[in-house]
């Protein structure tokens, strides 16, 4: 296996190096990748959407169909992990459990310094997450990053205190539906655009609701709306994945 792996690896590596002989100069402004479609994005995106961060503009407007499915990927992963870890144990595992019963769930003793530090850190982390979400139009950031930061703040809570205490404040019945609702919100905006007579996820359709807004600003607002949906799903899924992975799916013991 090792020898086969080496052979395969060097084959792939060699082929990739051979391919590089045929590339345009690496940072050439005139290469096809940086001229054909890319120039249109750079020169038109701001004019059409009023979003200075071109990455946000393309991510949540030009290619928002991709982003919708990316959110779905996150939701799918959350659901799959939930399914896998909640399965009943197989016969072999049950036998092992009766032969060597597991020690009581071990948690580290609670540490007042750590807890205090987390108390202090928790609100600014949330605030930063929301800032990253809303300021994604003007600086690096956006729905995914904000979602991960928000999710991470809850993970921090779960690590510093114990998992059960965190779950009593943020119970599974609350964040599990949120994973689905975020995706539903994103798709819902697309459907609203569709019902208002435009193509799916064409934010111009929303102008019928927000009257008196320029076509550029409605795109800007549309981007913010879908990013909110992304944030909800991502933060809930990140926390759900953590709680399930760390407790083998039974939510009894934390890190």
């Amino acid at each position: 296996m090792k020898r086969f792996a080496l052979l395969f690896t060097f084959l792939v590596g060699g082929l990739l190096l051979w391919g590089s002989t045929d590339f345009p100069d690496w940072n050439d402004p005139e290469s096809p990748a940086s001229t054909y479609v890319s120039n249109l994005y750079i020169t038109q995106a701001y004019e059409k959407t009023h979003v200075p961060n071109l990455v946000s503009a393309i991510l949540a407007d030009y290619r928002n169909y991709d982003t919708m499915f990316e959110t779905t990927v996150v939701f799918t992963a959350g659901t799959a992990i939930f399914l896998i870890l909640r399965l009943p144990l197989g016969p072999l595992a049950r036998r092992r459990n009766t032969e060597h019963p597991e020690a009581e769930p071990q948690t580290l003793p609670r540490d007042p310094i750590l807890e205090m530090a987390c108390r202090v850190l928790f609100p600014p982390t949330h605030l930063f997450g929301l800032y990253v979400l809303t300021h994604g139009h003007y600086s690096p950031g956006g729905g995914f990053q904000a979602g991960v930061i928000l999710g991470a703040s809850f993970i921090l809570l779960a690590i510093a205190f114990d998992l059960r205490a965190t779950l009593s404040r943020l119970p599974e019945g609350l964040f599990k539906p949120l994973t689905a609702l975020g995706v539903a919100f994103y798709v819902g905006i697309g459907v609203v655009c569709l019902l208002l007579g435009k193509n799916f996820l064409d934010y111009e359709g929303l102008r019928a609701i927000f009257s008196g807004i320029s076509p550029q600003m409605i795109r800007s607002h549309g981007i913010l709306l879908v990013e909110c949906g992304v944030t909800v799903t991502v933060s809930a899924v990140i926390f759900a994945i953590y709680t399930n992975l760390v407790s083998r799916g039974n939510h009894r013991e934390g890190l």
């Binding site: 991470a152 992975l245 760390v246 890190l255």
Partner: protein
Amino acid sequence: MTWVLDLFLLLFIAGTAVAALESRCLLTSSIILGAYSFMMCLVYASLGAVDVAFTEAAVGAGAGTVFFLATILRTGRKTSR
């Protein structure tokens, strides 16, 4: 003189990649993988991809490492290979 720093960074990244794969302790491996992710962020950022760097720092180095740690805590951290 930035090329010295760049070269050092790239060598260090390749080193951490190998170390993460070859370490005997899975806990060490996953922490090194976190370091690897963080240094990849530096490379992305120096290539001008600030959004990618941000996402990699949050998702790859942050959440990914925590997931690895959670799993290793619940399985085992030693490996003979």
